[in-house]
Amino acid sequence: MSAESLIPPVLEARTLGKTLGGNRVLDAVSLALPKGCVKVLIGPSGAGKSTLLQCLNFLIPPDSGTILLEGREVNGKSRRELCALRQQVGMIFQDFNLFDHLSALENVRVALMKVKGMSKLDAGELALAELARVGLADKAALYPANLSGGQKQRVAIARALAMDPKVMLLDEPTSALDPELIGEVLAVIRDLAQNGMTMIVATHQISFSASLADEFLFMEKGRVIESGSPTELLRRDSGSRTLAFCAKISELSGEADEMGAESLI
């Protein structure tokens, strides 16, 4: 664990618990995201990664525990506080969730107008700039049905970034994509990380996230059972659960074959 600094983490979760349908999906999970850090959640499906991310912005209200935004506890019962929190916490979903009836530009613009109260003109200008940032300025007029999966996810990222969030939650951003489309989305995420965005990413893209992450959090059965830097956890003799898991999924996806086992790190 890093030393406590004077600046509180951008987002912090303390002992989050959640039970769904009799299952303990989250069991006293704590984590902190200091400014500019990138943390990666890995673990088998059903481990609670997605639930954890959605509890961080109360899309799924946790049963117990607290969320702190820049050191201030968020009252999950107050709608105003929830909306304020969510404006500052961008979220990216596995299946994009673009608004199907709106063009790419309108997708990015709508919350700027509704939530931030910007004029249509200002919101449109900002939306176009955000689309340009993810390389999609020329697709602004297209509807989601006419965009590829990779383009949809990039629009979703532009939509989240337009709100000027302090932290981004990415829930398996490339899991629903065809293999040849993953690269363009990863490039955008890498760009974000390099520009200092605070992020937590649930992903199965091990080598990519290892090159980006400050910390890996390995989840299983609703708990974070291992955490540490990727180099530490993925060292061949580390004997970590993380290494065993990553070796397995890399083998399955052919990642290890292409790049050699060392490229895990």
């Binding site: 969510r86 979903f93 919350a111 509807y143």
Partner: protein
């Protein structure tokens, strides 16, 4: 049966019958709009409201779907509205007119059916739509207005056009309380001309034409508001 006589009788009766179209159109437009105005909020409350509200909507829907329109027409015209218009507060508002009673009954009944059309459309949207809107900081009312309803209303047009064609024919029941729409005129002119069969045919043709026009218009609307490249499952 002499077809020439029947045809001539129908031809002569046409202007009088078409005068009833004005009333029928008034009934159906008024009732569909009232049904829409109430049906959309009812659907939203039925899906997103807290449980006592959902239960209340449910009771409302059961009541209006469960009581025959004819019975409601009697209750409203001879009972409720004539009693209300006798009160000083409501006198002079024309509440005792059969047309008002008929529009209210048809509109309230339709709102119950329409609420279920819109509820189905709302619930057919992927859950991720609302999630994404909330994640951007929208309140639920904002998300419903900007994200949910624009999609749900589009999806609801085919079922709404079905509701139109059903309600149009239900509107014929308004003759029982004295609205001089197509059906009422058909009966009146059938008894004076002694040509009930041809008058009934004529009424049928007029109702068919009104159905065709309305359904066609709604299908044009459906195409007009279609989202580029977005087709519902099963569509080509």
């Amino acid at each position: 049966m002499d077809f020439t006589v029947a045809y001539n009788a129908a031809h002569e009766a046409l202007p009088y019958m078409l005068g009833g179209v004005v009333w029928t159109v008034g009934l159906i437009v008024g009732a569909m709009l009232l049904g829409l105005l109430l049906g959309v909020p009812l659907a939203v409350l039925h899906v997103y409201g807290p449980w006592p509200v959902r239960r209340a909507v449910s009771v409302y829907v059961w009541l209006f779907r469960g009581i025959p329109i004819l019975v409601q027409m009697y209750i409203f015209y001879f009972g409720l509205l004539s009693w209300l218009s006798g009160m000083p507060l409501f006198s002079g508002l024309g509440l005792d007119s059969p047309f008002v009673a008929a529009v209210l009954v048809l509109g309230l009944t339709s709102s119950a059916y329409q609420s279920q059309i819109f509820r189905g459309a709302i619930q057919s949207l992927p859950a991720g739509q609302l999630k994404a809107a909330r994640a951007l900081g929208m309140t639920d009312p904002q998300a419903i207005r900007a994200v949910i309803l624009p999609q749900a209303l589009r999806l609801a047009i085919p079922a709404w056009s079905n509701e139109y064609s059903i309600l149009l024919k239900d509107s014929a029941l308004a003759f029982t309380i004295g609205v001089v729409e197509i059906m009422a005129r058909m009966r009146a002119i059938a008894s004076t001309t002694h040509e009930p069969v041809s008058m009934t045919f004529l009424a049928g043709i007029i109702f068919f034409a009104l159905t065709w026009v309305g359904v066609k218009a709604l299908s044009l609307l459906e195409n007009r508001v279609r989202i580029a490249g977005y087709t519902r499952q099963g569509a080509a």
